[in-house]
């Protein structure tokens, strides 16, 4: 098992700390050793990259040099951070001109990109370093019978030319991890549809239409909850069920769990302990059925 530098990002530690808590508990249980480091913003592949591509690359490269100094690869618990760090890491590793240009900039702060570490999404670490069978062995509180709509989100595996992980249009590893807890991953039409958070930064209405499409499809397939692996998706799905009511006069109340929350619950942690009451769509009633409260 490798030691990693944990890249928690901005959204999770500074807005949704309960997700970080569940990730740390899950990693500890599974023997994934992580270290904290003074990383800056990844930065956001949707926002900051669109403002100034070169600055986006430079800030990302700075993070990579911090991990290189520590001699540890990065495990990220956010899709956006994973995509930014991996895209820049791969470009600088494979394009000598880009690397030269970036190192001339990094020199001003006494840093140099070498290309000696990897960047991994935590789903990849769970699958490759631990494995589905070993995770299933640790389950003491199974979720047999619970129907889960898996939502990997966009930046988890796209663009596949760079991300090189899972199937970008038919992802399977999140489903395997969910099923390791005894739950059933349901098939639903809109599984690879984006959550809509990105366009929500510019205009709310289209973001709500996309979210509704996603939610209706999962609910029609009989899902009891969603399981997600990205904090932007988590916020869009959890915070905006009330907004959906405003647009469509329809009640939505479907719990959204982070994968690490589901795993921590399956390993015996409880509702209160994981601060699950902080979710907007309360998962209490659902989790009571599975002795997780």
């Amino acid at each position: 098992m490798t030691d990693y530098n944990l890249f928690p990002g901005c959204v999770i530690p500074n807005r949704l700390p309960y997700l970080e808590d569940s990730a740390r508990k899950t990693f500890e249980k599974l023997g994934i050793k992580t270290h904290d480091a003074p990383f800056n913003c990844c930065p956001d592949p949707v926002g900051f990259q669109s403002v100034h591509h070169k600055s986006w690359m430079a800030l990302s490269a700075r993070n990579l040099t911090i991990a290189e100094q520590d001699g540890r690869s990065i495990v990220s618990i956010c899709n956006g951070c994973t995509q930014t760090l991996k895209m820049v890491n791969e470009e600088l590793k494979h394009d000598d001109d880009a690397k030269e240009e970036m190192n001339a900039i990094l020199k001003k702060i006494g840093r140099e990109f070498k290309g000696s570490v990897e960047v991994k999404h935590f789903v990849q670490v769970l699958i490759e370093d631990v494995g589905v069978e070993k995770i299933a062995e640790q389950v003491t509180n199974p979720f047999t019978g619970m129907k889960v709509a898996c939502h990997t989100g966009c930046h988890y595996s796209r663009p596949s030319s760079v991300m090189q992980w899972d199937d970008p249009m038919a992802p399977k590893f999140l489903r395997q991890l969910v099923e390791a807890t005894g739950a059933t991953a349901v098939d639903y039409d809109e599984e690879v549809l984006c959550c809509g958070a990105g366009v929500g930064n510019v205009e709310e209405e289209p973001a709500m239409h996309i979210l509704k499409q996603k939610m209706d499809s999962a609910i029609a397939a009989g899902a009891d909850c969603f399981v997600v692996v990205c904090p932007a998706c988590f916020q869009q799905l959890d915070n905006n069920q009330r907004t959906l009511k405003k647009y469509f006069e329809k009640d939505y109340n479907i719990p959204i769990l982070y994968l690490t929350e589901l795993l921590a619950l399956a390993f015996g942690h409880k509702y209160e302990e994981l601060s699950l009451k902080l979710h907007r769509a309360r998962p209490q009633a659902l989790l009571e059925k599975y002795n997780a409260v």
Partner: protein
């Protein structure tokens, strides 16, 4: 009526060698518009196929300027679905990132984008730690987040030229 701007056209197709090459392979099949989640729900207000066509033609006004009731490039949420499905491997998202960068320079970016960039420039993070969250982290026994070296981040962003685009870090009045 939109007018062809050759200089603008060249700045896109010559930006990077591979970008111009991939653009030229677009045969306007509209797979991108068909799979784009935003195009599906905006009734023609956002259309990636047209954005690629306008890029090839150099119709600057159709791309960068915030025409009434039109997202232009700002409807793109970088979900990378179009790149994944394009039969000609046109790197649409990369083209749109370039166009967005140009749009920012012309002062046409939606507020969200420049506000976030200013936060990152000032704090080194898109979301700085709030005291209420800090207390919550303590209650959860989460470790203190390591401090970001803001000075180093700002030096780096000066070097990349971000200041020329969004301005320098705003000086706050000294706390009394």
């Amino acid at each position: 009526m939109a007018v062809i701007d050759f200089e603008f056209r060249n700045s896109i197709i010559q930006h990077k060698e591979h970008l111009g090459k991939t653009l030229a392979y677009c045969y306007q099949c509209a797979t991108c518009s068909g799979v784009c989640p935003v195009a599906q729900v905006t009734k023609g207000r956002y259309n990636p196929r047209k954005l690629i066509l306008n890029s090839l033609l150099g119709l600057k006004d159709n791309l960068l300027l915030g025409a009434e009731n039109n997202f232009n490039i700002w409807g793109c949420q970088v979900c990378d679905t179009c790149d994944e499905m394009c039969p000609q491997n046109v790197e649409l998202t990369e083209v749109f990132v370039l166009l967005k960068n140009m749009s920012v320079k012309e002062g046409q970016a939606p507020d969200y984008y420049t506000t976030q960039a200013k936060f990152i420039q000032e704090h080194g993070k898109a979301i700085p730690l709030a005291p209420a969250i800090e207390r919550r982290r303590d209650q959860m026994n989460l470790p203190k987040a390591p401090k970001v070296d803001k000075k180093e981040v700002q030096t780096l962003l000066k070097e990349t030229g971000l200041e020329d685009i969004i301005g320098p870090v705003e000086k706050k009045e000294e706390a009394k």
